[in-house]
Symmetry: C2
Subunit: 280 residues, 2 copies
């Protein structure tokens, strides 16, 4: 079976997606090997039934050796990675050379990851996006829930799209919360869950806000796609948001069925949008 | 004395600047009248020695009447205003007419304030910036402290300028915190103090970050200029920031001497920058 299948390396960060991909590989008899990133990947996921090794961020040389030893041909980077700064990176030889190559300059927040993709590909390993393996993870276009956005929500979504696109072009965040036309919060490094939580404190009276989450325009589809899941809905509900607009075909939805059920229960909308098209 | 002086209306929001302006008016025998905004202006400031009246946000009609009754000729809007949403605004006749005129659309975060300036000027009252009365409040260009930004700090400031300018063009925030090239946080509606506090949680190891605070390019100098003061320095110090770069000639520094003394004590830099000029 697996002889004519390419071996898949999974570089695993935090959250539940790495497990979903590992289960998928197992169920579809795709040969795989996981590099689990310390401080990011969830230790509870990795028992003896999973072919994996742990590395620290900064152990690029060791990581490449593991991938070679395992005969990995394709690599997927998946799950949340706490973005490292230069001084956080533990020095090993390969890493030092890698950063010498980059030089001291201000990288965008995905700059280090993009440079890593290039570096992996010098090893003749192909970096692929998780959506190339599991296309069902991508958010579909259109309304996913029973409740749909009303006129005010559409105004808020439009404003969110405008802010997201511009922020994304700077390689900063990809999420924004808008309530009644006011931008309550903009995502920096904190991640969407934290953004939602803090915006609960800035909530205005009246009609609740909307989360708009887009892929950065120039963002490599193989790197850290925007993702929503059950936690996003739970947090959004607690923060009094009325709904979520997310980039159709360019963002991931983990556990879609449960996400939609939960959103319906909370009378929230979830809509897959194409920011290039007029939404009202 | 005051016969040939124009009467100054002060629409007072939160913080200590309204008091500084009131004291200035008193000391320079400028006739004045204060409209203190409930829920924003500091009640402790307004004793019987100050000619003032309180209004709620949304009582525009009442506010205009007070300004007319007092014979106000110039108006300064000063201090922090919790940005209202439509549904927070208490309906009175004038306010309703004002918002009917605006229509339901997504205003930028300063959109309502800009519309208010126009509305005040239909009353033949001139809206002026606080810097036109107290030019010393403006941040001076160049290094204000003993410590100066090193190479990494200059890289961070450059990245901050880039992000700030773009955010400002969207009429969103005007502050950003950058550490070692990473954008830790971007200001939404929460204000700079909250931005600084939360970024303490996202701080990376190693060299600390920098706060960059600019006036939005299209921002009316008469509306809510970016401001730093003693609290900014205290918060920045607690959050492990190494310094603050602020828009020279376009931002206010409250209590400059104490700000500089405190920054020197904490070995932080404060620098007045011109974002249009190369900083390194």
């Amino acid at each position: 079976m697996s002889d004519n299948r390419r071996k898949l390396g999974i570089i695993a960060g935090g959250g539940s997606i790495p497990r979903i991909l590992i289960d998928y590989a197992k169920n579809h008899e795709i040969p795989y090997f996981v590099l689990a990133i310390e401080g990011n990947a969830d230790r509870a996921i990795f028992d003896d039934s999973i072919n994996h090794k742990w590395i620290r961020i900064g152990q690029a040389g060791t990581g490449f050796k593991f991938l070679r030893d395992e005969g990995v041909q394709d690599v997927v980077m998946i799950g949340t990675i706490h973005r490292p700064t230069f001084s956080e990176l533990m020095p090993d030889l390969r890493t030092t050379a890698f950063f010498t190559k980059l030089g001291l300059r201000a990288l965008g927040d995905d700059g280090i990851l993009r440079a890593l993709v290039k570096e992996i590909e010098t090893e003749n390993i192909k970096v692929v996006g998780v959506h190339e393996i599991m296309p069902d993870l991508l958010v579909k276009e259109g309304l996913l829930t029973k409740v749909k956005p009303d006129k005010q929500a559409l105004v808020d979504i439009e404003r969110g799209i405008e802010v997201d696109i511009t922020l994304g072009s700077l390689d900063v965040g990809q999420s924004v919360i808008v309530q009644q036309g006011l931008v309550l919060g903009v995502e920096g490094i904190e991640g969407t869950d934290e953004l939602i939580r803090r915006c609960a404190n800035y909530r205005r009276k009246g009609t609740g806000g909307v989360l708009v989450k887009l892929r950065k325009l120039q963002q490599d589809m193989r790197i850290d796609l925007p993702t929503i899941g059950v936690t996003t809905i739970e947090n959004a509900h607690k923060a009094g948001l009325r709904g979520i607009a997310v980039h159709a075909g360019n963002a991931l939805i983990v556990d879609e069925q449960r996400v939609i059920e939960l959103a319906n229960k909370y009378k929230m909308f979830v809509i897959g949008i194409n920011p290039a098209e007029k939404i009202r």
